[in-house]
Amino acid sequence: MLNDITFGQYYPANSLMHRLDPRVKILLTVGLIVLCFVARIAPSLLLVALLTGILLLCTRVPVKMYLKTLKPIIPVILITSVINAVYVSSGTPLFQVWRITVTTGGVLTAVYMSVRICLLIMSSSMLTYTTTPTDLTDAIERLLTPLKWIRLDVHSLAMMMTIALRFIPTLIEETEKIMSAQKARGADVESGGLLSRIRALIPILIPLLISSFRRASELADAMECRCYHGGDDRTRMKQLHLRFWDVALLILAAVCLGAIILSNHYLSGVLYSLLFGGVL
C-alpha cells in the first residue's frame, strides 16, 4: 500500500536531460507549466504539447512511466472536465440534459483543461524522474538564494527538504512496522466504513508521531555533533556549473515562451479561423 508512492522518484538513465544542470531543469519545468496556462488557443497548446513530448523523449525514461503518473489524477481530470463543460456557456449549444446546457465553448475549455493538467503532471514528473532528490533540493536552494534579500532563510528551507526526503523511506518502514504491531494486537485497519477506517488510523499515527519527535531530537544532536551551525560559512562539496546544453535549452525555452505569448495575441484570430473555424 505504501510502496506505490511515486512522488519524487528518480529513474536512473543516461540522457541529456539527466545530465542537465538541475537549476535549468527546474526553470524549464516551471517554464513549461507557465506555457500550458498561457497557451489560450489550440495551436499554441499543441505546440506546448509537442515541446513537452520532445523533452519527454529526450529523458530516455519509458513512456509507460509517464503514463503511470497520470493514472492517479484521472478523477481530477474527470471532475474538472465535467465542471468546465457544465459551467462554461460560451459558443453554440450542443445538447441539453435536464436544465444544463453543454456548449461548444464548455467542451473546448474542458479539453484544454484536461490537456493542461496532463502536461503539468508529465512535465513535473520529467523533473523528478531525471533529477536525484539531493540535486533537486540543492538547485532549489541556489535558485532561491536571491530571496535572502527579503530575509527568507533559504538554507533552512533546503535543509528541511533534504531531511524530509531522507526520512520518507525511514518513516514508511516505521509505519509498516507499527501497522503490523497493531494488527498483531487485534487492530482492524483494513475493513469497515470510512469513519471507522479513519478511527483505526489513530493508533498508528500517534506512535508514529511520538517516534518522529524522538528521531528529530536525536538527529538534531547528531547534526550538532557534526558541527552544524546553520547556513553561515557552510560550503558544498558538489558545485553546479552551467554547460553549453544548459544555456542552449534555457534560450530555447525563453524563445518558445515568447513565441507562444505572441501567437496568443497576434495570431489567435488568423490561426483560429484558419485551422478550427471550419471544424467547429
Binding site: T132, P133, T134, T162, I163, L165, R166, P169, T170, R215, E218, L219, D221, A222, M223, E224, C225, R226, C227, Y228, H229, D233, R234, T235, R236, M237, K238, Q239
Partner: protein, 278 residues
Amino acid sequence: MIHIEDIYFSYSVEEDSEPIPLFEGLSLTIEQGSFTTILGHNGSGKSTLSRMLNGMLLPEQGRVLVQGMDTADEQNQLNIRKTVGLVFQNPDNQIVSSIVEEDVAFGPENLGLAPDKIRRRVDQALAAVDMTEYATHSTARLSGGQKQRIAIAGMLAMHPKCLVLDEPTAMLDPKGRREVLDTVRRLNKEQGMTVVLITHYMEEAATADRCIVMEQGKILLDGTPHQVFSHRKELEQTGLTMPAACQLAFLLEDRGITLPALPLTEQECITALENLLP
C-alpha cells in the same frame, strides 16, 4: 587527550522534581591513541559521560578538557566537536542526506572547507570504513552495519583525533556488530585514532587497551581487560554478562581446575584448555 576533572552532574526525571545526582566528583583521563571501553548497565551514566566528552552536555561542577580546551567555553565548541567525534546508537537517526557520499560530506561542509578538499576527505573516509563502492548509493537501502559505518565515516571526514561511540552496536545484528567493531579497531591500530567505545557487551571490551566499568555514575573497576574481568564478584553484582570464555573459566575454577590466565576470547580459551590437556 581528554581530562575529566572532578565533575558533578545531576538530572531530573520530570520537571520540578528533585534532581537525582549522577556524577559526584568523577575524574578520568583518556590517553592519546588508546582504545578504551566503558562498560555499564542502563542508567550507569555511560551515555551521559559520552556527551560530556564533546561538550554536548556540560558538568555542573568541575571541568572537562579536550586537548586543553575547556568544553564549558563557547569559543571552543566547534573545535572540540571537530576533535572528538561522537557516534550514536541508532544509525537511522544520524544520517542527514539520502546519498552516502553527501552524508559523509555533511561534516566537512559545516566546517566551511573548499569543495575539492571536502571531496578528498569524503573519499578517504569512505575508504577507511571500506564503503567506497557504496559512495553514490541511497542511504535508505544499506544494512544497519553499513549505515553505522557511514556514520563513522561522517565523523572521520572531519578529521577528529578521538572517536567516541555510544553503544554503536546495540541495534545491529551479529554481522553488523562485527563490521563496526573491526572498523573501529582498525582505525585505532592503523591510524592511531583514540577510541572510546561505550557498550554493555563485555566481549566487545576484551580486545581494548583499557576497560572501565561504571555503576551509578561511579567508576567501579578500571584497568586492562584481564585485570577488570578477573573481578568476578563485582562484575556479577553489576549484572553484566561475562564473555563465554570467562564464564567457562570461572565454572572450571568452581570445580577446582584453575587456568593459568583468565581467557577473554574464544581463541585464548581454546589455547588454555589445550595446554591443560596432557
